[in-house]
Each structure stands twice: as structure tokens, then as C-alpha cells.
């Protein structure tokens, strides 16, 4: 059975900041944040893969915390500040995590990559020192089907080292 599709959906207004820019938009009340970011704002860097909160591909930062944007309603983002993958690089210069993901080959098909980078960003924002366990726990909500994770772990460790030394 396909999921039943509701006929009439009331709209609601959302005012939020995305990557430092303020937006006010009308959205259907049942619209997830993921859909708002991708289909309304055109920020397609954030990916949907399981659409039920299992794979972490849609991870964004909401007021600095990692959120599965497929599970959070767009309406709940009202008055909040959101950072997506598009908000990390400054101009042509990559964020150190982004650069590390390329350097270690952590992006193969690349579909899980934006979500993983956001999870790693939150981890490195929080902690000057990270243990192996903290690293794995921070990333365990992000599924990657290609790499077997070794290059991802290496990328985050490299990014951590580089941000410590700079």
C-alpha cells in the first residue's frame, strides 16, 4: 500500500536563518525541514536517503546541534538558526573537514558526505580533544554504504589535528 496522501494541508509561516541569511516562507505544516531546505530554498546539498531518521544523510545543525532534518518539521525551525553543508566553505576555501574528506578519499559516492561532515563539524566545534569513542559515537548516526568508514575516521582525525595545530 502506498502511504495515504492527505488532501488539504494547512500552511504556516516559518522565519529562520539559514547559513546566516534570513528567510521567511509559507510551508505546509507537515513539511519536514529537509524538504524546506531542498525544495523551497534550493539548498540541495542536504540529502534525503531513508527519510525516517536512520541514516543521517540529512544532518544539519540547528542552533549548533545536529538534527535529522527529515524528522524535524520545517515549522519547528521558526526563529532558529540552521547551518547546512552550503554554509561551511568560505568562498573557494574549503572547511578543514571538507578538505580532509577529499584528501583521505572519504567521499566515494558522496551521498552520505554532507551529513557526515555536519556531524563531524558539530563534534569538532564542541571538543578540543576527542577520544576514539567520542568520534565513533558522534558519527554512528550517519550511514555510509561505500567506504567501510575507515577513510571517514581518518578524515575527521586529520581535520581535528589540523584545527588543533592552526
Amino acid at each position: 500500500m502506498p502511504d495515504p496522501t492527505p488532501m488539504e494541508i494547512p500552511m504556516t509561516q516559518v522565519a529562520c536563518t539559514v547559513n546566516g541569511e534570513a528567510f521567511t516562507r509559507d510551508v505546509p505544516v507537515d513539511s519536514p525541514l529537509l524538504e524546506f531546505l531542498r525544495d523551497v530554498l534550493g539548498l540541495t546539498g542536504t540529502k534525503g536517503a531513508c527519510l525516517e531518521g536512520e541514516c543521517g544523510s540529512c544532518t544539519v545543525l540547528v542552533d549548533g546541534e545536529t538534527i535529522n532534518s527529515c524528522l524535524m518539521l520545517a515549522a519547528q525551525a521558526n526563529n532558529r538558526s540552521i547551518t547546512t553543508i552550503e554554509g561551511l566553505a568560505s568562498g573557494a576555501e574549503l572547511d578543514v573537514i571538507q578538505d580532509s574528506f577529499v584528501a583521505t578519499g572519504a567521499a566515494q559516492c558522496g551521498y552520505c558526505t554532507p551529513g557526515l561532515i555536519m556531524s563531524a563539524r558539530a563534534l569538532l566545534n564542541d571538543r578540543p580533544d576527542i577520544s576514539e569513542t567520542e568520534l565513533l559515537t558522534a558519527l554512528e548516526g550517519n550511514i555510509c554504504r561505500c567506504t567501510g568508514y575507515a577513510s571517514i575516521i581518518e578524515a575527521v582525525k586529520r581535520a581535528h589535528r589540523e584545527s588543533q595545530s592552526s
Binding site: 536512520e54 559516492c109 559515537t137 554504504r145 577513510s151
Partner: protein, 783 residues
């Protein structure tokens, strides 16, 4: 007369010393698609929506796993506000049929549905929501037929037939020597039956894309694995000439065989043809993706092996039943590959193999990484452990006694040379022994540790005489850069870098001077599919041949400019210079300018089409069923909780002979990633059906490995020059998964003392194994 000389920027560059040689083959060049992937600017199928979609499509699917369709009523769907059209089989202009080997799968079912993923209609609307509302209101009347849920039901007397010719899709056999006699004369005869499960590819990038018909050309942005073949199939189904279809592969988030069959292309094409000038978008949800798509074959493998008292294998008799699901997909090829890999890299003089493909009302089964060879490795490696134990021999020593050596034959009778399986096994075991094995001494009573190994082989390419070829084009550009054109599809494996590095190596160009255009049916020539571990070997060879031809042109022109014989010229870092006098040099850019004035094309195309020989149908024997063989060996160490049945992989070592690692980082990525998928298959992944309905169509219930399930995988790249491969390379895609599963099962056997024969070994199955409780035992009802 003194001539005034002004020094320009380019003249300065002329004076700079030439950078030292930078061999692109063997170098972990950064992925050229890396930056767009880490910044979120890479455009996958679903990312084309927000900017370009004008209309949206949705697919009506069967409500029954097996039924006759008696009526399709679209009236109510057309009444939904925003719905512009509802299209059924009656609206399809061509054959309305697809299928990679047999054309047997209706794009839109007309009279009968054979699984729950069968599509019946396509709804087109102004919004995605309206399209889905319309989908829910299409009324289909059915006359239900008995659902064939299992292979046993399919072959039972009086079973309802999915097809007039019956439920057995086909068979494949191997006959070599006299198995009966050899088993009678064996010191031990060991028998067991293995059950492998249905597996989903679970690539993350759900099927999505766009279609547009301008009255002349139907343009589809849809990810597949073989754009040129997809174009042929779509053309037949929709009744368009091939030239009127253009497929452009968007950035693709994984495939693993799951994009080999046609997915959304025909639905999008049909919708676009009906709405000329509009861009139509279609995307699945995860559950629709899992319910519609083909799967990995579940196999029942009955194995009997005999051996002499000294451990020499004498004979193997293997009967395989394969759940083909509702349609043929690539099932026939999977059966062939299963048969031809039935005894793996072992010397078995007498072999009988019978593989039967059986239709059920489950999802069609087709390509997935390993393609039949993977399931057979579970059986033959399982048997090696069992026979070694029956003979009280060391597992490694027993394997070594029977592993093929260069010049020996595999299951199909093909002589293989070089054979590096012994070397791979030595490398993996040596790596394992670098660290002391902790054993069971410090563990609590309910925990047991064990380790195991696997040795596997893999025939590369389609094989069996199936036409297999790749084309490539390499062109010099005016600015001294070179562009590779290939129909090959990048799905994440690193094909783009591989092809650029191969061409760049031949042309002596740095990576920054290399360009690539891939997987666009308008701009590139056919390069076969990204499957069967074939792209590095096949397309790599075509690229190498084209680049070599171009290199000859460049050397000729350089010879004229430098006034030396072309053999005395080195190409390096964008320069051509006299090898003995590097100051006598000319840039590749100048060569391009010079070449054009002298009538050189500075373009080259190549076709790589090696010969394989079809197996004799009665015996399955062929002197060259596969173009080359790949080898790999794994060691796995596990910790088993004997009370809960949980298995944790503590260490995993994978050694693979890749011929030559063109990009070692990509090769390691394939090895470690393959092990991860193998771990998933060994311990957790299983598509479960109830009367043809998938019970776990989402990543909540279909469990795939997370970062915490994987140990640090130790990848070992073994390089034995493959004389037929580009720069000695052959490939690596599938073998790492094939080797991983049996090594983990071998370790569970070592830890528990019980031999696993069902997959996946999730906690419940492991607990049942430890406690000798089979699933059909009365005791199982307690749980």
C-alpha cells in the same frame, strides 16, 4: 644587429625546469569529483528537482503479489485537482517491455502482476502531492492468483505457474570427470546445505531524475550503470528510435548492481512524451525504492565434497536453487557465474554442478556486487572448513594443499595464469600474525573468540562468450590539456580518476591537465556497464589504447619540432624533451598547435573487445570463459556472545591482487567498503518476505553496518602484473565482498565449534546455531 628580446610570462615558463616525473598510475590523486561532493554542489538525480521540475510523476503499483488485472479505472485520479494525466500500458508506444537479458518485464502491467513492485500506471500532475493523490485514486480490479512465496512452493507438484512454461527459469550445469566414482573412492565425504539470504543494495541515493521531450529528443537525467544499454531498452519499450533518446548520468550515489535494471527511466520517458516541452520529475521514497527494485538472489546450495586421507580434494557435487523472483532480470547470468565459481580457487578434478533458477512472486533478483560468485564462496569456503575438521587438518594447510597454482584449471576447465591466491593468503595470514592472537584465556565463560579465513577467485567481466567491449576516445585540446570521453558510469567507485590517470600516464600530462566527459549518450561512446568488476580492465584498456595512439602522434610532432627520432623523446609534466638533452624541449601546448597545422587529428578512438569462449552447454567447460581471474584472501577475528548470539568482528584483513593499483586510495576504498558490505551480509542484512510482501522496506528494519559495526579493516594491495590489463591493472570492485562473508563465517565456526550454514548470522541465528535449535523446530515457537 642586436635584436631586442622581451621576456613574456610564457617565455619565463619556458625557462623553468621541467618538474620531475609524476607517474599518475600508482598515485592516489585527489578525486576530481571530491570538491563538489564535500561542498554539496554535486547534483544527484533528486537535486535536479528544485530548479528544473515543472511537472511531477508518481507510479501506481500492484496491490497483489500475484493476480490478473481485470480493469484499470483512472476516472477518480483524473478528478484530483492538479492531475494532468494518468497513463497505462495502452499509452505506451513501443513494446512496453524491458529486461537486460530476456525482455520479459512489462514497464506497465496490462493483464497480470507478478510481484508487489509491478507498475500499472503513471500519474502526472502539477505538484508532487497531487501526483501522489492521483496515484492513490487509480482503481485497479484484480483477480488474485495463488502467491508463490518460496522456491519450495514454486517447484511443488501442481504449483500455480508464473509463466506458461513453468516456474523453472533455466538451468546451468558443469560436468567434469566422474564424480560418482571419485566420491566412492574418497576417504571422507562431507555434505552440507547452505542458505543465503535476499539482500538489498541499499545505495543511499534513492532513484530520482528528470525527463524532457522537446519533440525531437527525449532527454533523461537518470542514474544507471550502463547508459547506452538503458537507451536501447527505453527506445524499444517506448517505440522511439535510439537516436531520439539522450541519457545523461547525474552524479550517482552508489549502485552495487542495484541500478543495472531499468528503474524510473521508462515512466519518466512516457510522462515526458505526453507533456512535450515540460520537465517531468520523479523520485521514489526509500520504501518504494526497496519494493520496486531487484535484489540479490537467495540461494540454496547443497554441497558434497570428497577428499583423500592426505587432504587432496577428489570431487564436488553441487546443486543450487536460486530464487529468481518474478522476472528474469540478469538471473541467467548470475546462475552462470554461480556455476562457474562453484569450486572457487581449488583444484577439484571431478565436478558436477546443477543450478536451477526458480520463479517466485518475490522481487526480481539480479545484479548485486558479487553476482552469484559471492554466494558460492560462502558454500565452498564453508566446505573447506568442514572437510579440514573432518580430516583433523589445519585449515590453512588443507587449503594450501588444494589451492590452484599458475596453469591449473578452475571449475570451468579454464587454465589460469598467473595465479596469486597462495600469495594473497600468505599476506593475509602474515598480517594477522603480526599481532598476538588474544585467544579465549581472559574472556568470561559466555564469550568465545575465533578466527577464520577465506580464499576466493573471481572471473572478471561478463564472461561465457557474452559480447563484452569498451570504447574510448581521447583528444588533445588547444590549451595542451587532454580530454577522455567514456560511456562508463561513475557511481562512486572512482572510475573518472582511474581513466584520467591511465590516459595522463601515457601522455605525460599532470592531473591538472586532464579532463573527462563520461556517461552521456550524446557525447560519449559505449563502454559497457559499470559492473562485473570490468571498467578498469575493459574501459581502462580502451582508454590506454586511445591514449597510446595519441601519444604516437604527439611524439611524431615533437620529433619534427625537436629534430630527433621520436624514440629519443620523453613526455613529462606537459613537456616533450630529448631524453639525452632535456633542454631541447617543447610544450605539449605548442605540439598541439603545430600538429593541427600539419594535419594531425590529435584525437584517437579505441575499441577493446577481447575474445571469451562460450561454455559447452552440456559440460560448462570452456578454454576461456573469463578474460582474467582475480584472487583475494581474508582473515577475520570475531567475538561471540554465547548467551545472546551477538557477533562482533574484532579484526578483518583483506588481501587482494589488483594487478596494479591505478589509484591506491580508491583501491583501498573498494576493499574496505566491500568488507563492510560483506559484514552486513554475514551478520545483519536480510530482506524478509511474507507472501511476496517485503516486511522491512526501510533502513529502520533493514539493518546495514554503522561505523561502530566495523573494525579497522586492514587492506593489503597485492600487485601481480596482469599481462592483459592497462599498466597491469585488472580490477577490485566485487572480490572484497566475496571474500569477507566466508571469512567471518569461518571465524564464527572457530569460536563456537558449530558450522554456520544460514545467513545472516544475526543474534537469533547465531544463538540457534550454538544451541542446535533450527527455525522449524517446535522449540522455536517459544520465541
Amino acid at each position: 644587429m642586436i635584436q631586442q628580446v622581451t621576456t613574456t610570462e610564457s617565455d619565463k615558463a619556458q625557462d623553468a625546469p621541467i618538474a620531475p616525473p609524476d607517474h599518475l598510475v600508482g598515485k592516489s590523486c585527489r578525486r576530481i569529483d571530491g570538491k563538489e561532493k564535500v561542498t554539496g554542489t554535486a547534483l544527484y538525480g533528486a537535486d535536479l528537482f528544485p530548479n528544473s521540475a515543472e511537472l511531477f510523476a508518481s507510479v501506481v503499483r500492484s496491490q497483489h503479489a500475484h493476480a490478473n488485472i481485470t480493469a484499470i479505472d483512472t476516472t477518480k485520479a483524473l478528478e484530483v485537482a492538479g492531475v494532468l494525466g494518468v497513463y497505462t500500458h495502452a499509452d505506451v508506444g513501443g513494446t512496453n517491455i524491458h529486461g537486460l537479458i530476456r525482455r520479459d518485464h512489462p514497464a506497465l502491467a496490462s493483464k497480470r502482476v507478478r510481484y508487489l513492485g509491478d507498475a500499472i500506471a503513471v500519474v502526472v500532475a502539477k505538484t508532487e502531492r497531487a501526483a501522489k493523490l492521483g496515484r492513490d485514486r487509480v482503481e485497479v480490479s484484480y483477480e488474485p492468483l495463488p502467491v508463490i512465496a518460496t522456491m519450495e512452493q514454486a517447484i511443488a507438484d501442481g504449483a500455480c505457474k508464473l509463466y506458461p512454461e513453468g516456474n523453472v527459469m533455466g538451468d546451468k550445469r558443469i560436468r567434469k570427470g566422474d564424480v560418482e566414482l571419485a566420491l566412492a573412492n574418497s576417504h571422507v565425504v562431507v555434505t552440507d546445505t547452505f542458505f543465503t539470504q535476499t539482500v538489498d543494495h541499499a545505495f543511499l541515493d534513492i532513484e530520482a531524475g528528470t525527463g524532457h521531450w522537446d519533440g525531437q529528443v527525449l532527454t533523461l537525467y537518470v542514474a544507471g550503470q550502463w547508459v547506452h544499454e538503458e537507451r536501447r531498452l527505453i527506445a524499444l519499450a517506448l517505440g522511439l528510435p535510439v537516436e531520439q533518446i539522450r541519457i545523461i548520468q547525474p552524479v550517482t550515489g552508489g549502485a552495487f548492481g542495484g541500478r543495472e535494471d531499468i528503474s524510473i527511466q521508462i515512466y519518466l520517458g512516457l510522462a515526458a512524451l505526453k507533456h512535450q516541452g515540460k520537465t517531468i520529475a520523479l523520485r521514489y521514497t526509500r520504501s518504494e525504492s526497496m519494493r520496486a527494485r531487484h535484489k540479490r538472489h537467495a540461494l540454496k546450495i547443497e554441497s558434497t565434497f570428497g577428499a583423500k586421507a592426505d587432504g587432496t580434494l577428489t570431487a564436488a557435487r553441487i546443486v543450487v536453487h536460486s530464487d529468481e523472483g518474478a522476472y528474469a532480470s540478469t538471473g541467467i547470468a548470475v546462475m552462470r557465474k554461480a556455476a562457474s565459481h562453484a569450486t572457487g580457487p581449488y583444484r577439484v578434478p571431478n565436478v558436477e554442478v546443477d543450478v536451477y533458477g526458480v520463479h517466485t512472486n518475490n522481487n526480481p533478483t539480479g545484479a548485486m556486487r558479487g553476482f552469484g560468485a559471492c554466494q558460492m564462496a560462502i558454500a565452498y569456503e564453508g566446505m573447506m572448513d568442514r572437510i579440514a575438521r573432518a580430516l583433523n587438518m589445519d585449515r590453512e594447510a588443507f587449503r594450501r594443499k588444494n589451492l590452484i597454482q599458475s596453469g591449473d584449471t578452475v571449475t570451468t576447465g579454464q587454465h589460469v595464469d598467473p595465479v596469486s591466491i597462495g600469495h594473497c593468503l600468505s599476506k593475509a595470514i602474515a598480517k594477522f600474525k603480526e599481532r598476538p592472537y588474544p585467544g579465549n584465556d581472559k574472556l568470561p565463560d559466555y564469550m568465545r573468540r575465533g578466527w577464520g579465513m577465506s580464499a576466493i577467485c573471481f572471473g572478471l567481466g561478463y564472461g561465457d562468450g557474452f559480447p563484452d567491449c569498451s570504447r574510448a576516445r581521447v583528444e588533445m585540446n588547444d590549451d595542451g590539456t587532454a580530454t577522455v570521453y567514456t560511456g562508463g558510469v561513475e557511481v562512486g567507485q572512482g572510475l573518472l580518476n582511474t581513466m584520467m590517470q591511465i590516459a595522463g600516464e601515457d601522455l605525460g600530462l599532470p592531473m591538472e591537465h586532464m579532463r573527462i566527459v563520461a556517461a552521456d549518450t550524446e557525447l560519449t561512446d559505449e563502454s559497457g556497464s559499470s559492473s562485473a568488476t570490468r571498467q578498469t580492465y575493459f574501459t581502462g584498456n580502451a582508454v590506454r589504447m586511445a591514449a597510446s595512439e595519441l601519444r604516437e602522434q604527439v611524439l611524431d610532432i615533437a620529433g619534427i619540432k625537436l629534430k630527433v627520432h621520436p624514440h629519443e623523446i620523453t613526455l613529462q609534466q606537459g613537456w616533450a624533451f630529448e631524453t639525452a638533452k632535456p633542454d631541447n624541449r617543447v610544450s605539449i601546448q605548442q605540439i598541439c598547435t603545430e600538429g593541427l597545422t600539419r594535419g594531425y587529428s590529435l584525437k584517437a578512438t579505441a575499441l577493446f573487445k577481447p575474445r571469451t569462449i562460450t561454455e559447452v552447454p552440456q559440460t560448462g567447460q570452456s578454454p576461456r570463459a573469463f578474460i582474467t581471474y582475480l584472487f583475494g584472501a581474508h582473515v577475520s577475528q570475531v567475538l561471540v556472545n554465547m548467551e545472546t548470539g551477538e557477533v562482533k568482528v574484532e579484526r578483518h584483513i583483506a588481501a587482494h591482487d589488483v594487478g596494479k593499483a591505478v589509484n591506491p586510495q580508491s583501491v583501498e576504498g573498494q576493499i574496505v567498503g566491500g568488507v563492510a558490505q560483506g559484514l552486513g551480509m554475514a551478520l545483519m542484512e536480510e530482506v524478509t518476505y511474507k507472501d511476496g510482501r517485503i516486511m522491512n522496506p526501510g533502513l529502520t528494519d533493514y539493518i546495514i553496518p554503522t561505523i561502530k559495526d566495523l573494525p579497522p579493516v586492514e587492506a593489503i594491495i597485492v600487485e601481480h602484473d596482469d599481462p592483459g590489463g592497462p599498466f597491469g591493472a585488472h580490477g577490485v570492485g566485487e572480490p572484497p565482498l566475496i571474500g569477507a562473508v566466508p571469512a567471518i563465517l569461518s571465524a564464527i565456526y572457530d569460536a563456537t565449534g558449530k558450522a554456520p550454514c544460514e545467513l545472516p548470522m544475526n543474534p537469533e541465528r547465531t544463538w540457534r546455531l550454538i544451541n542446535d535449535v533450527r527455525e522449524n523446530d517446535p522449540l522455536s515457537k517459544v520465541f
